[in-house]
Subunit: 270 residues, 2 copies
């Protein structure tokens, strides 16, 4: 049976609110996801919340199922109100359902590259919205996951989870230093594809091999030269305007869809 919490001073409310800080997420190994849609996505991917909060009076078949499965899985189910949910999520119009999940193991060794022909790699990505959007795009193109290299933002931040629209639970996520990523990459098959202003080829020109690893650079600096130098293919996305770069999540999507579209055409032709 759900228990009820309506006091701001409740220690659980304080603890969960604290998960908006990266430090607390790290020390407790927990993170927050919001919304019936994302939590149901998580459930279908096999992830149960350790704690499930929901607003009193929320009636929905999906919520009933979430409550049932969370309780069956030994999780804590808490009935609360919109004010507390606002406090927990930091949003003005909070979702009526919020889950606290155990953070995943993000070691590179857990990535099985044979599981998918396409992977996205981000170098020093700083914006959580971009990170979440890239996960969402990864899901859409059937990527295996996202490898976060060097100084990237935390994939378990509220904003990243929100922007991923649930793809955080369906995409594999790894974090690694560049040297370690490179050693791992070269220990198996894979083509490293970088986008850069210095790319000699248009992004529609090369025939991309599998598995393809699409490498996306930092929002303001792009890719470091040392990373560009390691790319098997370095391409540029044409730009006709005044600006010299695209949003990182947009560049990732254009590259990922280009690779997928090529493969679609090839399989349609054969």
């Amino acid at each position: 049976m759900p228990r009820e919490i309506t006091a701001f001073s409740n220690p659980l409310v304080k603890q969960v609110r604290g998960l908006r800080d990266k430090k607390n997420r790290r020390s407790e190994g927990l993170f927050v996801a919001e919304g019936l849609r994302i939590l149901t996505e998580a459930l279908e991917a096999g992830f149960l919340p350790r704690i499930l909060f929901f607003a009193k009076g929320t009636g929905h078949q999906l919520l009933s199922r979430l409550i049932e499965e969370t309780e069956a899985g030994g999780g804590d189910v808490v009935e609360t109100n919109a004010d507390i949910l606002h406090k927990l999520s930091g949003k003005d119009n909070p979702q009526t359902v919020l889950g606290v999940y155990e953070a995943f193991d993000t070691s590179l060794q857990r990535i099985d590259r044979s599981r998918a022909p396409l992977w996205i790699v981000a170098h020093s990505l700083r914006d959580p919205g971009n990170l979440g959007t890239i996960l969402r795009t990864g899901d859409a193109v059937g990527a295996g996951g996202l490898i976060l290299v060097d100084d990237c933002v935390d994939p378990f931040s509220v904003e990243a989870v929100r922007a991923s629209m649930g793809a955080l639970f369906t995409q594999s996520i790894a974090t690694a230093r560049w040297e370690d990523f490179l050693a791992w990459l070269r220990s198996g098959e894979g083509e490293l594809i970088g986008t850069s202003l210095k790319g000699q080829q248009d992004y529609q020109q090369p025939a991309y091999g599998r598995p393809a690893f699409i490498l996306i650079g930092n929002e303001s600096q792009g890719l470091p030269e040392a990373c560009e130098a390691e790319c098997d293919v370095l391409v540029r996305i044409p730009m006709l305007g005044k600006a010299d770069s695209l949003n990182a999540a947009v560049a990732a999507a254009l590259m990922a869809y280009e690779v997928r579209n090529q493969w679609r055409r090839a399989s349609a032709a054969s």
Copy 2:
């Protein structure tokens, strides 16, 4: 000569800080843009700030030029410090330069469709980051501008201007009700291209005509049926994962690049 302001209580500081509210932007007809790069972009597009703030000790050739041109244009130049800039921008690491600009006239009648073969139209777009990112992509694909239909977020919000990376100054922007947009659209040439789950054709299938108007829907609802019904072409972007939609700015970029890539191939072949 620049004057110096270092007091939080200064009325100008209060006024400019107030521009973070849409109501104040509307009533004063002003908005804020930050950063040397974006302000230089604005200058090159012919826009001078009415007020230019810069942090004492910022030495840069581009800043000297901005100061000179702002003063020559009759604008107010204010030397200040990082604390005041933080207060004005609301960012933890504020840019060292901030400009206050007059809002543009966004009436539909000011849009000259013959100026560009490609335009982006957004219906009830709610996220300022998405709006800015779409402007930035519009610049990259040589779009004429962005038409904001019905209940869209304010293009002059700090977040939208920031995400546009200066494209706010190079793209035309109009706001309109759907009925008025439709009447305007049908008063001249143009193909309205919608993306939808209900699209019968893959987005790479149709041959897109000029001028192309790419219609993007709301982040959570997509396009209303009435809008879909008016589209000349309704296409879907293929998705292989669990999710049934892409981020709105990603969808806009995929469509815009697809149209541009088709035209590139056609002109290379002819």
